[in-house]
Symmetry: D2
Subunit: 186 residues, 4 copies
């Protein structure tokens, strides 16, 4: 029903943040949305850090933001804030790149002491980019994310419930199919 860009801002190749986003992508797709994953780590580092707006990969990412109705932004918490990798991409986007869009902010981290980084660090940056709606976010502890040998992701019950709730609120704000219907149709 809506086009969603799902952005992982983790610099790690085996990132819990990225796996978590891909896991939520499945839920959003099942609710009728078209989900486009974007792993900032795959964009060219030199273009990201030297403000090379014209690089084709940067131009494509910019176009993906422009075309999206909703944007999921996921980041690990480092030094009490979002990753530099994520911010490098946001820095390259137009000042009001989120105008008219609905945004879901997510973070992962090693300690609950970093929970407020979503609202005090990430949300003000996103707010400066003009979104219509930043829906309630969620902070997931690293230890609540398990990855099996087959790459399948398992969440601790509390984390699973919290993430499902904020994902569904985000989906609903985008006009997604209600959960009840989803359950009925499988």
């Amino acid at each position: 029903m809506a086009t969603i860009l799902s952005v992982s801002g983790s610099p790690s190749a085996t990132s819990r943040t990225a796996r978590l986003l891909r896991h939520l992508d499945t839920r959003l797709a099942a609710q009728g949305h078209e989900v486009i994953p974007l792993d900032v780590r795959t964009l060219p580092p030199q273009a990201l850090l030297h403000a090379d707006f014209g690089h084709p990969a940067i131009a494509e990412a910019t176009a993906q933001f422009a075309a999206a109705d909703g944007v999921v932004i996921g980041t690990p918490v480092y030094k009490a804030a979002y990753s530099g990798l994520l911010k490098s991409l946001l820095d390259l986007l137009p000042q009001y790149a989120l105008t008219g869009k609905t945004v879901l902010p997510l973070a992962t981290g090693g300690t609950t002491a970093h929970v407020l980084a979503i609202d005090y660090a990430l949300r003000p940056v996103l707010a400066s980019m003009g979104p219509t709606h930043i829906t309630p976010g969620w902070f997931t502890l690293d230890k609540d994310i398990s990855v099996g040998d087959d790459g399948a992701l398992t969440l601790a019950p509390g984390a699973a419930e919290g993430l499902a709730q904020v994902t569904d609120q985000f989906s609903a704000a985008l006009g997604g199919r209600p959960r009840a219907l989803l359950a009925a149709t499988g």
Copy 2:
């Protein structure tokens, strides 16, 4: 008297932020400090963004932080916060890389509407890294920084005065020569 690492976090090759820091470096050197400039833009982008702690250039920057008594951190304000480039470097440093150090936070930007980014965005990140002292910072408007054909930098009077004051407070916290003496000896 002290060893100061002076870090510019601007992604631009013709950065006002970088020129401003080099300008202040001269003042700090005249007060008896050894000043080491570090332009994050010159570090390898791939190592910065993919968390390559072992890269020789990253290891050297990390050692420069470890050896410094004082650190000047300068950044342009993008999207209501510090640059992603600067944060990419901070992300690679040990969690308490600023332990025992004195830090001077500086920012540049196009509008006074971004002034609070120093205290609400940059300072909490620096505080999370364990410094003994973050001295009062200063926000300089882009239009108050002029660069002549010879590359010489001129500051508008108000900006010059404010920057001199915070630089001298930083220097004094590091045990720099007092201003009066400096004036007397030229």
Copy 3:
């Protein structure tokens, strides 16, 4: 269409913030909403500051929050943040007093240097109280608000336009009558 609580957090008896909110109340009422004004300054100071949850006036304010679909929060900026008066009331409300509600954050101040206080100071506090939606806010300069001898309020053109826009976004999020229709019907 919706019930809106419009909260002024200014400690001043002749507050620009309060007058501004009452001005916007008229616009919201014209869009079909029921608007209930709440001037925190009229609540009993001792009950506010000594956590007297049981005081009838505090209980009534708490009930007004509970009954509202939307909440306008207006505050002057003092010391780079919202007023202590406003925070005193928020402190007395249940932790999730904004659950399910849509919130419009507004601030007034003497300098554009305080603009970011909405997103870095006020919004995180509101976000901690569980709202469904905090719509884009607006910062109004004191000098852009004029009060005539008859008490009528006049806004500078830029401020009037910005406030109208965020008010209408808030109204739309609450299911208010669209502007076009409003214009057509007067």
Copy 4:
């Protein structure tokens, strides 16, 4: 050696925050400082909330700030930030009431999820008031503070150590007697 104003911003009559500050006051006094306790809760609520700068009790508190070399600011964390009571007092002080002073920020709260409130909420407000130095702060969990039948306060070991360390850093910044000497002389 220095005059320290020790300010508790808790609205509760049986506040852990206030007891904690009085406990640290003893340590600071033993290091040779004159410590003046100020419990914001004892100031007249009406004067605090209605900006009555001329009230004798407010004028006295303002003078105590002016006369202090160092200021300890302690607050419970409510709604992800400092208390409205504390902010009400700060709002009444001159804009640069902390000029030339050294400040120690402390917070108490029920969950580690509120740790960042010191650096993201309290510190920017304090920074706006012009202090020379805000030393590293400390967040103490409510459950780590026990009060015996005789009113004596006991801290959990980790909390005791952390608080001792930040208190001694604050004291040292004010020229307090070094810990080693203190230990030697009892």
